[in-house]
Subunit: 767 residues, 2 copies
């Protein structure tokens, strides 16, 4: 755990240069716009430790799988998030020596992520070995108004000399992924152009053949005037830059403006890329940095208007939740159903791929409640479009008749992950895909989603479960062997309660979906039936037989569900009895020891209770929580939020708050010692849930918003806005009252702490 960042309500602030934390800061201060993203690398040359990262959404490389022992059915490749052309580079040379913070004396270093307005700012004073002192102030952002544009303002002031500073803005496509399995480079050059103050690099990914055009135009201003520049062209490989000697006067800044466009062949024909990239660069330059930034600030103001959470009386908590919301909004904007939410977003390479079950299980609620309906819907359609590949994936593992198994990790619908205990066994993810549909419809009321997309996915998933269980004669029940539940500290177990439960639920929900489509759109139903050869009577009967007689392990005496068969045979000792030096278990213990232990990586039974809360009475929830919570080590960032929500429901406010603290500043304080790899984007949505569903007690039942809030004792107030079926509701909780405000014109029914209310248009109620 590191606490080197300043607390501030709206910004993340790093004061003083800490090279040893540079990779961490590079992650934390990342910027993005859903279409591209950039780690907080320095513009100028830096020879210190750094993970360079410029990422373009949807562009990936199928890196040949690295595996010690191949198992039949493993995927051939792992789709990697690609480090793409470096577009931020502005090299500075003084006295023929590169300005490099690794070899200068650095003072007044300050890095600020302005979350309110959506930009990254950095300033420092550096003294070179030859004694030249310069002040640098940079500002950059990825536009969320035009998500193909990036812009940089980079000012250098000579503090103790006049003379010449050499400035070289550049693009560099000769980049690598640190996580390349075989130390390959992933890009081939297509075209590299340098013309005066403009440069373009078009690079193509090997194998996948994505093209990305990156273009830049730079200007240099002195005393507010943009001067005409005499440039020297530098072009080697996929590096394209232009060097300028700028005469400088002590104390007078030179300001470099760099306008960048990044266009990918996902959105443009390859033949058009160069022209469009040129046009886009020109457009950005014509608008100019100031106006681009103004538009950025305005757009971010709108985002905050919709999604902000205000915590009064606790700056650290306030900063943390805004940090999470900021990054969620930077990562996925919902404009393109081919994109999704990578576990590291645009902040690092780790975990590759793009989509885990995190999206449905943890991220969907955030986007449902803070953005337009289509954003969440696009996350669902992403999976609909992958249905065919999910069916192929199941077929590779021996399933047939249209059964679908969605992959554990994917970019394009194909499985990327290759550990048998995950790839082949952590199949509960299939349930989360179905749950996502259910959750979306419950929230939006858009039941017709079933007609066009949902039912087909649900049937394919149901078919998978129907084949994955088998009937056990001695038990006289359906059982499911060889699975890994959400708690990945158990592998290859039989009858994981969560998996069996969600499987049975999927069979039921698919049955309901079919009935709905059948009644609402009989023609479409008929067409679907034919398309997928759905043997209605037979399959429905089989599903019913399974779901009504599936084995759900429980311990009657304790009144708890069993995480899996035989769980109680383990040596049960609470986490509190562990020695500090044994944590985190996955770094300190051998895998067999982790597996044999009773310790739970992330909510498993409790995840199921969270998903299907309304099916269980409070004492049941309480007993399970009391049993499993003390055994949970929360070594997944996705774990604490579920515990917050359940603890809050059970009135364990202190416990809820304690758990909330573990999730809120996970990356800001580098709890898990891994922020340098990138941020835990999907768990940030969990933090949002912890506040809104946990502290706020928000639920949707019977088409109605429910709240049941409490206020942590250290807070003065918390308030958040919820978008719900076209209406905006403001919820504010203070020590004495809960205020609900309907910011829309129409009235809305709300349930507050068990009491039904009708909130008139623009109405307000305080309880």
């Amino acid at each position: 755990m590191k606490e080197y960042l300043q607390h501030d309500e709206w910004s993340i602030i790093e004061k003083g240069f800490k090279p040893e934390y540079n990779r961490i800061s590079e992650s934390i201060f990342s910027i993005g716009n859903g279409r591209m993203g950039q780690r907080a690398n320095f513009e100028e040359n830096y020879t210190g430790d750094s993970l360079q990262g410029s990422y373009v959404a949807g562009v990936y490389y199928p890196d040949k799988t690295k595996v010690g022992w191949w198992k039949n059915g493993y995927p051939e490749y792992f789709a990697k998030v690609l480090n793409a052309t470096n577009w931020i580079g502005i090299d500075i040379e003084i006295d023929g020596k590169s300005l490099d913070l690794a070899s200068c004396k650095v003072a007044k270093f300050r890095r600020v992520l302005n979350m309110k307005e959506g930009y990254l700012q950095r300033s420092f004073v550096a003294t070179t070995k030859s004694g030249k002192k310069v002040k640098v102030e940079s500002k950059r952002f990825c536009s969320i108004v035009d998500d193909e544009i990036g812009a940089i303002r980079y000012a250098v002031t000579p503090m103790n000399f006049s003379g010449t500073i050499n400035v070289t803005p550049y693009l560099n496509g000769d980049v690598k992924n640190e996580d390349a399995n075989w130390e390959e480079t992933f890009w081939n050059p297509v075209k590299v152009v340098v013309k005066n103050t403009r440069a373009f690099v078009i690079a193509e990914t090997k194998k996948t053949g994505f093209q990305v055009a990156t273009g830049m135009k730079f200007e240099i201003a002195q005393k507010g005037n943009i001067g005409k520049l005499k440039t020297s062209k530098i072009k080697t490989g996929m590096y394209a830059g232009a060097s300028v000697d700028v005469p400088v006067v002590k104390g007078e800044p030179i300001v470099v403006y760099k306008y960048v466009a990044i266009l990918a062949s996902l959105n443009h024909l390859p033949k058009d890329l160069l022209d469009r990239c040129k046009a886009k660069v020109k457009q950005a330059q014509q608008i100019g940095f100031a106006k681009l930034l103004k538009a950025q600030q305005k757009a971010w103001a709108k985002k905050w208007e919709d999604s902000d959470i205000i915590i009064e009386g606790d700056i650290a908590a306030q900063q943390a939740i805004r940090f999470n919301i900021f990054h969620l909004n930077q990562t996925f904007t919902g404009v393109d159903e081919r994109l999704n939410i990578g576990p590291k977003g645009f902040t690092g390479e780790k975990y590759g791929g793009s989509t885990y079950w995190d999206t449905e299980a943890y991220c969907l609620p955030f986007y449902l409640a803070t953005t337009e309906e289509k954003v969440a819907k696009n996350l669902l359609i992403y999976r609909y479009k992958h249905l065919e590949k999910a069916i192929e994936n199941a077929a590779k593992l021996g399933f047939d008749k249209g059964a679908a198994l969605y992959p554990m990790v994917t970019m394009n619908g194909e499985e990327c992950h290759n550990e048998w205990e995950i790839t082949f066994e952590e199949i509960h993810r299939n349930g989360a895909i179905a749950y996502g549909i259910f959750d979306y419809i419950r929230y939006t009321g858009d039941k017709d989603y079933l007609i066009d997309y949902g039912a087909e996915v649900l049937i394919a998933i149901a078919r998978f479960w129907a084949q994955r269980v088998h009937f056990s004669a001695p038990r006289n029940q359906y059982v499911m062997h060889g699975v890994t539940g959400p708690n990945e500290y158990e592998n290859n177990v039989n009858n994981n309660w969560y998996t069996n439960y969600i499987a049975a639920w999927c069979l039921e929900y698919a049955t309901e979906a079919i009935a709905y489509v059948q009644s609402k759109a009989p023609h479409k139903y008929k067409a679907l039936k034919e398309k997928i050869d759905f043997k209605e009577a037979e399959e429905l009967a089989n599903w019913k037989a399974i779901r009504s007689n599936i084995y759900l392990p429980e311990d009657k005496e304790r009144g708890i569900f069993l995480q899996q068969e035989g769980f109680l045979e383990k040596a049960l000792e609470p986490v509190s009895a562990l020695r500090l030096e044994d944590r985190p278990l996955n770094q300190k213990w051998s895998w067999d020891r982790v597996l044999r232990s009773c310790y739970i990586k992330q909510a498993d039974v409790l995840q199921g209770i969270y998903f299907f809360e309304e099916k269980f009475d409070l004492p049941t929830i309480q007993r399970n929580f009391d049993f499993y919570e003390p055994l949970t080590v929360h070594e997944s960032s996705l774990s604490p939020c579920v515990h917050v929500i359940l603890a809050a429901k059970l009135g364990k406010q202190e416990k809820a708050y304690e758990m909330y603290l573990r999730t809120a500043r996970l990356d800001l304080d580098d709890y898990n010692n891994d922020t340098e790899d990138g941020l835990h984007i999907t768990s940030m949505a969990g933090t949002w849930m912890a506040i809104v569903k946990g502290i706020g007690g928000m639920r949707v039942y019977d088409n109605t918003l429910h709240f049941n809030p409490f206020l942590p004792t250290s807070w003065k107030a918390v308030s958040f806005k919820i978008q719900f079926r076209g209406k905006t509701i403001l919820v504010k909780v203070t020590p004495t009252e809960t205020i609900l405000e309907n910011l829309s014109k129409e009235s809305v029914a709300i349930n507050l702490a068990g009491k039904a209310l009708e909130l008139k248009g623009e109405g307000r109620v305080a309880v």
Copy 2:
């Protein structure tokens, strides 16, 4: 399955050139002498498909581990069997073109492995593109008289021309391993010398720093006279050769003799290597090819004298068993306790490492019964010398107080394997190490082995088991979670019967061993106790508590032991119900499907019953056999032999013979489509067991040899010799009688089919 080899009692014969089977033949026709080995690669250049392989025992390279997802406790490297300097090369050039069977017309190709006399022979007639026809006859062997010597006789006869043939004998250290994880080379040059007809290459392994000196001297004879040669030296990198233009006369052969010495720094100081290698080469040359071969033939005659099995009436079976015995004798000779039996011996790279539990569980009985005592003893001492590393290995996994976990795969005592389900969980191997000690003592009567070596190993193993179990409160018994049994088609199961059983047995046997040492060598016992801080009363009491109350899953109704807890909950369908296209399962099914199925890769419960047969009554053995046999797919080459032995014991002679057939010609007929990677050396010992312990019914109980033989109906007779405590017993089974012959001077007690006999010195009995 391929049946391209000729049946012959004493030889393996390949007629006709089949490039597509070349890698298979290269494995099958391998030669070796326990110190070095050589695949049946061609002497002359060959550009067709080939796996070059020259191996030097005990010389390995720690290749950086390749693993997709690292788990804490995985080893950093995998020790690879090293492809070393090619010593067989003799390039032939005619008209400036290399003689290369891939580009010639080949006739009369014949490759013969003369098992009786221990050499490889090859002949062919090749017609080059320019129409030149040559006959080639080669013969080579690795001396078992002096295991640092190899020799080649290579004759070329011009069939339709006179003129010049260029001959280039060479050594080549610039070789690679095909299975290198990172495509590295493993050797660095130390010295390369070419002097006239002699050449020397000293190469050193990277990281491990083993040096191997390879030297050669060649001669060329025409009309029986060895001529003086004018050579051109060729030296590049680690290649060292000498080229000679030899005038040839149509129809008159030129004969190249190549004498080779291979010396490793395991056995010589690096500084002495070159001189000793020179001396050894000279010595070989002075003895000459004919005499070297004669000595080889004599030495092999002695080996056959001791270890032959004669099957009358079935040439294929006769050939097969000799093939197995031949390779076992080529692989391990027992002269060096630092060496062991690699799963591929000296016939391929696959599986790297050198030592698996195969050694103790499958190989030991062969060496016990066919060689001097010290050979088997050296296999045990190998493990004794690795004890410290085994304790370190256990410590890495979180065990303490001197507990030892022997590695799954090792070269020097350190673990090499890195799949958690094997490395960390397939811990029953620890039991096999203990069983090896028991088996050795049972056979030899050398109980004092416990004093000097055995007890210390047994205590460390017992300590491991005592920590690996835990007490289950609900079951009120000791349980063992998270293991993989011998049947690797189950991973991470709880309470594998075999593992629990052998664990309890180890605790018991260690206790007995302690008592023995205590009574026989009290001073040594005291020293040992102090050395290992053995808390006698406490530890013994704990072991007793565990072994007397360990959970051994069984099904009372069926009267069987359960492979693991919950085994009966699986869908039970016999192997016979599987479709042909589903086999082998591990190539056709995804891993989860394999794991969920009831199918058994290799004997598991039955392995335990085989090991501890005397503890179970016949009906129990029968019930377990009848239950598990139909579920066993035998996709490990180590499986059928155990089934043969048990089937034979149960009087199921047809079943026994059917199973025997699966093991006997495994490599010769390439049953598993993998002979090209090398031979299944350790399973060859299983085949030997299948005959001697299965068909012959041999056991040792109460210091007495027992036999209970039967004769497969298709055989006329089978006979084999057994070395037992200094005596040699010949057993011959015919359709009408069993003949036992005591070839020693002293009398020996024998039990035949339940009847005790006293066989006088040189006595004979027919029953």
